[in-house]
Chain length 80, copies 2
């Protein structure tokens, strides 16, 4: 069964306060090499069939909020 | 500057109630092809230098909860 990995990210122009907090925590733990952190969502769908237009629809209707988020996706496994 | 994409997923044996809810919502919206949904985190780090042992340390100390989550990561862009 194919699966679809959807990556949902906050739009680059928006402040990611959770990401900033994690970035500061990493610096405080001694990881000075970390310059920036952004936190998004990884949504994995197991689907019977993959139809790109339907995947995009699911993303823009439910999985991502198009006002503040961007999404990309990739199909893993056979495209039955 | 290289970036590191960390994927944090709930361990497969654990019930993902948020994922289940999203899966039911997708079915209710008419996406009957969706069999299962799991929701994880996508954490993108911009770093000066990439050292695998340090990345794994960051993941197990702060980015993922090793009791309930697994993580994988990949390096994107030049490994300075």
């Amino acid at each position: 069964m194919p699966s679809v990995r959807v990556y949902v990210r906050l739009k680059p122009s928006l402040l990611d306060s959770a990401g900033r907090t994690v970035g500061e925590a990493l610096k405080n733990l001694g990881y000075a090499e970390v310059e920036d952190v952004r936190i998004g969502k990884l949504i994995e769908l197991k689907v019977d069939t993959v139809e790109d237009s339907r995947i995009r629809e699911m993303c823009s209707k439910l999985l991502a909020n198009p006002v503040i988020e961007d999404f990309t996706y990739e199909v893993v496994g056979e495209k039955a």
